[in-house]
């Protein structure tokens, strides 16, 4: 039933920033609309936060790391993860 939203209202994507990236963006969470896929979303983020360009990060979609472009849907959670430092 959700399919009818494809070209309808803008989908909202939660974007989370972790580690150094939260300091750089000045927030740990924003909402982005109208991003169709992860590549598009990153482009939008780079416009908002140009200094992200110089950062190293991994991308997680709904808590799983992704390594290539993924289509986004309403309710998805994207996280930009600075290099890990556990232990």
């Amino acid at each position: 039933m959700k399919d009818k939203e494809q070209s309808g209202p803008a989908i909202q994507i939660q974007v989370l920033f972790f580690g150094a990236l939260a300091g750089l963006t000045g927030t740990d969470r924003i909402e982005i609309s109208n991003a169709d896929d992860t590549e598009h979303l990153i482009e939008m983020l780079l416009l908002l936060y140009p200094s992200l360009k110089n950062e190293t990060y991994k991308i997680a979609l709904n808590q799983n790391l992704i390594h290539q472009k993924q289509t986004l849907k309403e309710g998805d959670e994207i996280a930009l993860l600075a290099p890990f430092a556990g232990g």
Partner: protein, 194 residues
């Protein structure tokens, strides 16, 4: 008899065990203990990994003591990650403030745990990691692996620690003596740059 460990519930005895067919059997019925019986084992108990603040030595000692009733264990291996007082630009690290993407971290810990049980004949495994402030000299990571024999625990413990550093979304702010901070970065696969 391979039952999961109950690290935080020492006095609580499992009353029922879910057997493979989904039928509930009382715990007193012994499940065949065969080396090749791993598929029939009860699901390993999942416990919370993150603890607020440092992992203190009494907690570690209690964790060890809780295993004395598990007499099929012949070997434990323990890794403790301690916050090191590094010097950065002439300023000493006073503490590390840890944060995590908790929902994802729990998933990754679960995967690491399942993979280790799959690969090694372990009896039990416990992982604890700090969140929040841990001062230099205090412990922020506690990995505790037990099995019948030493080879499995040495290998598994080392592998688990490497996997945690590589895969689990945890960050640490190294707070320096003048109050400034820098973000710690792990050097996976090289020396243990805690």
């Amino acid at each position: 008899m391979k039952l999961p460990c109950w690290p935080l519930l020492q006095e609580v005895k499992p009353v029922q065990v879910t057997y493979q067919g989904g039928e509930l059997l009382p715990a007193s019925i012994s499940i065949p203990d065969k080396a090749d019986n791993s598929m029939n084992e009860p699901k390993k108990k999942i416990h919370k990994v993150f603890v607020e603040g440092p992992i203190n030595s009494s907690f570690i000692a209690e964790s060890i003591a809780k295993h004395s009733s598990k007499t099929d264990i012949g070997a434990h291996s323990i890794f403790l990650g301690q916050v090191r007082k590094d010097e950065i630009d002439g300023k000493a690290v006073q503490s590390i403030v840890y944060s995590a993407y908790e929902e994802m971290a729990e998933k990754e810990f679960h995967r690491i745990r399942e993979a280790a049980f799959e690969k090694y004949p372990l009896t039990c495994m416990h992982i604890y990691h700090s969140l929040g402030r841990v001062k230099a000299g205090e412990v922020s990571l506690f990995v505790f692996v037990s099995a019948m024999h030493r080879q499995a625990v040495f290998s598994a413990c080392s592998e688990i620690v490497e996997q945690i550093k590589l895969r689990v979304p945890i960050w640490g702010k190294e707070v320096l003596e003048d109050g400034s901070f820098i973000w710690k970065v792990n050097n996976v696969g090289q020396d243990d740059k805690k």
